[in-house]
Symmetry: C2
Subunit: 315 residues, 2 copies
C-alpha cells in the first residue's frame, strides 16, 4: 500500500530506494537534518465518526509538519507506522493513504517507507524528517524583553473538538469553521521558514498542547518567565459567537497547531507583519522572573492554575 | 524521560539539538541515509510476563537494527514513540529505557528524540536512521546461479516463542537458549557491513517473518526463483533436542533476525567465511524459474504451502 504513495513527489528524486526493501535509502544532503515522531491513537486523539479516513491520514502528517514548522524547516521525507485493528477494510486504508499522500505532496514530503502491524486500536505513527536552511527556531532562545507573538487564532480547534464530542452545541458556519480547525489543522510551514530568516533568530514552539502549556515549555527551556495579556488573545469570530469572551480554550485547549514565537522589540509589529506577510498577534512579553502570569483587562496579573506542563510530552 | 537517553552516545556529537525541542537537529552527513520504522505491540508481539522491561526496550531497537544490518549500514539515530497504557509505572519505563539505551550504546545509536502518547495497549515504535558506506545490500539484486546463504541458526526464536506460550515444553539449558533467542535477538550489523564490501554486492534481507516468507520477498523483488535444500537448514543443537528434525519452524517461524543473502559462485564457501569472519551456511541457489522450491533429502522438489508472503509488511 505504502509503495503507491511514493510516486513522483517533490523529494522523490532523493529517494534512492523506496518502500519494499529493509530500509529506505535517501541521497545525502549538505543541510542539517530535522527529525520528529508523533502518533494519533483511536479513542485517545480521534474517533472514526468525526471525519473521513482521508482527513485522518492528512491530520496524522499535519501534526508532524507542525513540528518541522516550529523549527523553521523544510519537511522532506517520512516513514509511516500503521497499527491496524479488525473491522477496517482496504477501502478505509486507501482513503486514509490518499489523504496522507495529498498532504505530503502539498508539503513537499516523500513517503519513503512504512510498516503495518496488527493491534486492537488503530494508530498512525509518523516519523518525519526535514532540513534547516536558516535558524533553526529553538525553544531555548527567548530573552527577557522579547515580545510574545502567535499566528492565527487560538482555541478554535479545542472548541471544534468539544462540538464533535457534543459537549458544546454549535451549528451552521460557526460549527463548520471550528470543527474544520480541529480536523484539518494547517501547519505553519511558510511562516516558520520566514521566521527562521529573522535576526536574531526568534524562539518558537508550535501550539499543540495549548498556549499555556506550550508557552511553559518555551519559558522553561529558555530559563525565563512571561506575561500574557488576556485581552490580546486572538479569538475567531466563530469562537466568540459560540463560546463568548471565555478565553479558557484559547489558553489551554490544545490542537491549534499555530506557532508561538518571541521576537526582539527592535522590530515593530508592523515590520514583523510585513516581513512575514501575515497578521501575527503580540500577546505578551518575556520577563526575567521565572513565572508565567496572565494579565487581565484590569491589569491584574496572576498565574494560571490547572494548566501545568505536560510531563509526558518530550519533543 | 527520553532526554536521559541522549547522553554521550557515540553519535551524540552529531545531535546538535536533542530531546526537548519540537524536532531533533542532526548535523549534515556526506553519506546516503537509511531510514526504517518498526513497532512492537503488547498482546501482538509480546506479553509482559515473558521477560523484563529492559529486554522489551532492547528488543524494540534490535528489530530495527536488523533492518539496518540487512542494508549493510551503520545505525546512527533513532526517535522513539511510546504508547503507554494505564497500570505501568515510572519504574517499568525507566527499566525499558535502560534496556533500550544499552542496546543503543552498543550499536552506536543516539536516541535523538521521542514522543509519548496514551493508549489502551503498550506499543513501542522506533524510527531508526543509518548510513551507507558500501553497498547497500538490496533485495532486488539476486541473480540466477547465486548461492543462498543464511547467518546463524534458524527457528530457535520461533521455538522459544512457543515455549513462552506454553505450546512446546522444554527445560534447562535448551529452554534458556531458545527463549533467549526470541527475547534477545542479535542484529547482524557487523556481518551486514562486511557483506556490503563484497563485489558484486550481495542481495540480502533480514529474516523477521520467517525464512520462507522473507526469501519470497527477495525472490519477488529480484524477479527470480530459488531452491532451498531442507537438509542444509542450520538448526541449533537446542532446536534438535526440543523439536527433533522437524524444520517447520526453521522455514517459517519468524523472529530469527538473521540475514539471508545471495552471493556469486565466484566466491567459495570457505573464502566467504574467511571474508566474513563467521560461519555462514549455504542453503540453496537462485534459479531463473519464478518459484520457490524446497528440495528434500531424497531430491524431491516441491513448493512450500501455507507460507505465503505477508502482504502487510511493506518495508
Amino acid at each position: 500500500m505504502i509503495a503507491r504513495l511514493c510516486a513522483n513527489l517533490p523529494n522523490g528524486r532523493r529517494v534512492l530506494l523506496g518502500p519494499g526493501d529493509d530500509c529506505a535509502l535517501l541521497a545525502a544532503s549538505t543541510k542539517a537534518q530535522l527529525i520528529t515522531i508523533d502518533s494519533m491513537v483511536e479513542g485517545v486523539h480521534f474517533k472514526l465518526e468525526w471525519g473521513t479516513p482521508a482527513m485522518l491520514g492528512a491530520r496524522a502528517l499535519s501534526i508532524n509538519l507542525s513540528d518541522i514548522a516550529a523549527m523553521g524547516g523544510n519537511p522532506t521525507f517520512c516513514v509511516v507506522n500503521l497499527a491496524i485493528r479488525p473491522g477496517l477494510g482496504t477501502r478505509f486504508f486507501d482513503e486514509l493513504y490518499a489523504g496522507l499522500a495529498k498532504t505530503a505532496t502539498v508539503a513537499g514530503v516523500s513517503v519513503a517507507g512504512g510498516n503495518i502491524t496488527r493491534a486492537t486500536e488503530l494508530a498512525i505513527t509518523i516519523a518525519l524528517m526535514g532540513e534547516v536552511e536558516n535558524g533553526p527556531l529553538r525553544r531555548d532562545s527567548a530573552r527577557p524583553g522579547d515580545k510574545i507573538y502567535v499566528t492565527g487564532t487560538l482555541g478554535d480547534a479545542a472548541l471544534g473538538l468539544r462540538i464533535l464530542q457534543k459537549k458544546v452545541a454549535a451549528r451552521g458556519r460557526q460549527r463548520d469553521h471550528l470543527v474544520k480547525r480541529f480536523l484539518e489543522p494547517t501547519p505553519q510551514l511558510a511562516i516558520g521558514r520566514k521566521l527562521a530568516r529573522l535576526k536574531p533568530t526568534p524562539a518558537a514552539i508550535d501550539i499543540s498542547d495549548g498556549l499555556w502549556q506550550d508557552l511553559g515549555h518555551l519559558l522553561q527551556r529558555s530559563g525565563v518567565g512571561g506575561r500574557v495579556f488576556s485581552e490580546a488573545l486572538p479569538l475567531s469570530e466563530a469562537y466568540r459567537q459560540v463560546y463568548g469572551d471565555n478565553c479558557d480554550l484559547a489558553l489551554s485547549g490544545g490542537d491549534d497547531y499555530e506557532l508561538l514565537f518571541c521576537a526582539s522589540t527592535a522590530i515593530s509589529d508592523a515590520q514583523l507583519r510585513r516581513r512575514l506577510g501575515m497578521d501575527v498577534r503580540c500577546i505578551g512579553e518575556i520577563t526575567r522572573e521565572k513565572e508565567a502570569l496572565l494579565v487581565s483587562a484590569t491589569g491584574q496579573a496572576q498565574p494560571v492554575h490547572g494548566h501545568g506542563w505536560d510531563q509526558l510530552r518530550v519533543t
